[in-house]
């Protein structure tokens, strides 16, 4: 029997689960790569390729984020396990905060590279054109926002992770497991 792709009221489908972990991996990978590449010496062999990879994956992350938002809105969301209202309310708030960060981070990064009207090469597949350029100090403002949001998403992801681990090890409920087990 095939794996279930869509969500039900009780469980997450394969698409949601793969998106969740795939994008989590991308966020941490992009964060590490971003810090690494901005510290490279000019003569480092990775000096030009590291930003190229960072930008390409960043643009992919944006595409996945848009798709994920559509998937979330077009699918049932499994109900949370029983917990106090403040807890479920906080969890919901953090989820939507993460969605908005997943959209804003790539946008702010995109606005750095496209500030002079140049597009961004997505791997070597095609060039994503610049849609907004020439704002005064655009690359500096977008750069500062990109950096702060990057630290912020790591902080919020950490909170999200801590909460999931708390549910798993302290409350011993199914919150974490249902994001891991793909139901048939």
């Amino acid at each position: 029997m095939a794996l279930r792709l869509t969500n039900t009221d009780e469980s997450f489908g394969a698409v949601s689960i793969v998106l969740h972990w795939g994008m989590a991996l991308m966020v941490f990978g992009l964060f590490a790569l971003g810090l690494y590449m901005t510290g490279l010496e000019y003569t480092d062999p990775w000096y030009t390729s590291a930003p190229h990879i960072h930008k390409s994956f960043g643009l992919l992350l944006f595409a996945f984020a848009v798709f994920r938002l559509g998937w979330r809105l077009g699918n049932p969301t499994p109900g949370m396990v029983r917990m106090p209202v403040w807890e479920s309310g906080t969890a919901l708030f953090v989820h939507w905060l993460l969605y908005s960060l997943l959209l804003c981070l790539p946008i702010s990064g995109y606005l750095i590279s496209t500030a002079d009207g140049r597009g961004i090469e997505l791997f070597n597949w095609f060039t994503v054109p610049s849609l907004l350029s020439g704002i005064d100090a655009q690359e500096d403002i977008a750069g500062a926002i990109h950096l702060y949001l990057a630290f912020f998403i790591i902080l919020v992801s950490g909170l999200h992770t801590a909460a999931a681990l708390k549910h798993h090890f302290i409350n011993k409920d199914s919150t974490l497991l249902r994001m891991i087990r793909i139901r048939r």
Binding site: Y42, I112, S113, Q138, D140
Partner: protein
């Protein structure tokens, strides 16, 4: 009565003009962009990278009959660095290079002017960049001077010098061919 007053004012202006000529103060025409500060640095030893500062202001005094008394003051908004690539300009403004948050402006104040030819001279002065002040020498040449078609008087100079980045505490390693940067400027002054 009014007419007489205006006439008197005009006359007093005319009378005062010869006195101004010997002072010969010029404001560099940045508002209409007849002034440029450009730089050129080697890229890996294989080609040149050219850039410019888009915002600066300055003035000079110059008199043909007394060139050694010439004076120049320039202030550059370092943030306005422009190499036709936003990512690179952002990098140039960062701590790796100009650190514009700490050192937003660069300044040049002349201290001497030595005539070396009919239209050429060597200007010495203090140049402050990246928080470091250093005496530099600039080869300058008068390009021309005279009346403009709109009732003013203009005088233009060009000049060049070579700066060593390390001298100004810019230590980012760009390779052995890129330790120095050539500066070129062309300034058109409007006599005040």
């Amino acid at each position: 009565m009014k007419r007489v007053l205006i006439l008197l004012l005009l006359l007093s202006g005319l009378v005062a003009l010869p006195g101004r000529v010997s002072a010969a103060e010029y404001i560099i025409d940045t508002s209409k962009a007849h002034a440029f500060i450009q730089f050129k640095i080697s890229h890996l030893g294989y080609s040149w990278l050219l850039g410019r500062f888009n915002r600066f202001e300055g003035s000079f005094s110059f008199d043909k009959t007394e060139p050694e008394a010439s004076k120049v003051n320039i202030s550059i908004d370092v943030k306005s660095v422009d190499t036709n690539h936003a990512e690179r300009d952002k990098h140039l403004r960062s701590k790796d290079f100009f650190d514009v948050k700490r050192y937003p402006s660069a300044k040049f104040t002349s201290t001497g002017f030595k005539v070396t030819g009919e239209r050429s001279a060597v200007m010495t002065g203090n140049f402050t960049l990246h928080g470091v002040t250093k005496e530099i020498m600039i080869d300058v040449k008068q390009v021309g001077e005279g009346k403009d078609p709109w009732g003013g008087y203009r005088s233009g100079f060009e000049g060049s010098t070579t700066l060593t980045l390390k001298d100004f505490n810019i230590t980012k390693n760009l390779g052995p061919a890129s330790a120095t940067v050539d500066l070129y400027f062309s300034f058109e002054g409007i006599r005040q």
